[in-house]
Symmetry: C2
Subunit: 235 residues, 2 copies
Amino acid sequence: MPYELYYWPTIQGRGEYIRLALEEAGASYVDVARRSGGENKMMAMMDSRRLKTPPFAPPFLKAGNVVIAQVANILLYLGARHGLAPKSEAARLWIHQLQLTVTDFVVEVHDTHHPLGPTLYYEDQIGEAKKRSREFWKERVPKFLGYFEDLIARGGPYVHGRRITYVDLSLFQLVEGLRYAFPHSMKAFEGDVPRLIELRERVAARPNIKAYLQSDRRIAFNTDGIFRHYPALDK
Amino acid sequence: MPYELYYWPTIQGRGEYIRLALEEAGASYVDVARRSGGENKMMAMMDSRRLKTPPFAPPFLKAGNVVIAQVANILLYLGARHGLAPKSEAARLWIHQLQLTVTDFVVEVHDTHHPLGPTLYYEDQIGEAKKRSREFWKERVPKFLGYFEDLIARGGPYVHGRRITYVDLSLFQLVEGLRYAFPHSMKAFEGDVPRLIELRERVAARPNIKAYLQSDRRIAFNTDGIFRHYPALDK
């Protein structure tokens, strides 16, 4: 039975970290909300009284009878089943910890265009978004991406050594997202994290990922997702 | 060998979710940074080249030879060992998922007083903080706490039924924190989440938690933590 992924059909968003893992694994899955009637099905799942584990928000994954939400939690589940995480408990917790650090960074990416919160429009908070974006590039990007750069420098080529994990797929997505949303700032910054950029190339060249990126299963970046290209926020 | 908890010594902050779990479990632990020289030891751990799993930020927990960071990840580890999580994999992922939803809410709490980011002072963003706090109480608190209220309504008295889990301890902390930071707003809101308030009472009355709250191991709330009482942000 294929996995069922439930996520907003027109954006990469938080669902993309799951899509990348499913694609790299060569797992069989349906991107439910992208099918006819699928978005209604997703909303019905969230409101269902019969569902024992109702998600707070998409993305969520149906795996047989189990419904799992929260990106890092879904990856914890998938990683163990598809060779995208190491086997020992300690190493699995470590990779999960890194994914949770990616999660924290993704929140800060979202805050660049929505510092006043998710229920106001970007257009109502452009001034605040500019301030937040400046600080993001000055303080937060160097801190987060520098952390991962240092980890790769300890061994590499992947963040946990020679074998790819789901965190590497997420780091690929961070680089792609920053390149799309902040092309000038990212261009100026990339020289500071050469190993991370090399990791990005390595992930992009993996056969399953390469095929995915060329397929129409990969939704294009756009200004409804987490990474948004607003020229006013780029340098 | 006692656990070693590493977290900032003068605030509850994110470390408090770990402290509550260790206390409820009756686990032996040292709150390292609260001891003489402990904060330096914490910083040295984070910078250590010898540490295989360097944390991005506190809190982190040393358990024998393993060093684990990220609150929800630490609770995943502790929950399994101290009867603070169910035994089946599916139920464990469910409780972890709920903890990650708590994590998301904690970020939004922090954003009420720091909408422009963590490296500027509150005093430099009061106007933005007021806007964000209004939206927080109008949209986000009802959504998040209402979600947990509904879960308790399905069974109770705890969020996963009759047995306490680490998520219940975290929900207790959310109620305590909101009462401290936003006394007027929270007072007006509590009637909307009666089961959550009852859960808070139940957690507070547990012998180990009760003893902890009366001890000097419990740091008082203050305006350096995640929950901050700034009257300008309360109704």
